[in-house]
Subunit: 109 residues, 2 copies
């Protein structure tokens, strides 16, 4: 569950601008502010089921956007490369290693 | 016009996966393969006006996606930083400069 929450937080971060204002509100209350479905339902004066359905649909949309655009996957890959680069800088400062990292980073776009 | 073509080619590259198959076909024939509107209309047995309208709408959608996700803008910024990093590597190999570039790159996500 924690893993899913983390993933949804990331996907929301990357794709929230493609969601409707209502989807943004529900997702942000549920995933960022840790509201329960019941609390969101009360706040918006709708049924708990309506909130649940909306959030499930939004989660599916976020996964679909990720499947198409891979922003989260590329972010992870880029983070890995940058950390690796930092680490190799601490060991020594080989131009070759840095140039290779730059090429890898450029390929990700 | 050339500038617009280049921009549309980039936006298409970043967001084509969010378009319908028909939008993808028209855009790719028009912008990548340099077909005229008339040639596309003939190929798909529709009016030239229909092709024109579809392409105009798709262009607007691509600009809207870019406004929301900024993938092209971030790509340009990342490319600039990587080129700058390569250049400073050729001058000398200062750890500080490289670490700063890494921080800048990480901030772009």
């Amino acid at each position: 569950m924690l893993e899913k929450t983390t993933r949804m937080n990331y996907l929301y971060d990357f794709y929230f601008s493609l969601l409707t204002p209502k989807q943004q509100s529900y997702m942000s209350l549920y995933y960022l502010d840790d509201y329960s479905l019941g609390e969101i339902a009360e706040e918006y004066e709708v049924s708990r089921q309506a909130v649940y359905d909306n959030i499930k649909r939004t989660e599916a949309m976020l996964e679909e956007y990720e499947e198409k655009l891979l922003l989260f996957q590329k972010f992870q890959e880029r983070t890995r490369l940058l950390n690796q680069l930092k680490k190799s800088l601490n060991e020594d400062c080989s131009k070759q290693v840095i140039l290779e990292a730059i090429e890898e980073l450029a390929k990700l776009d």
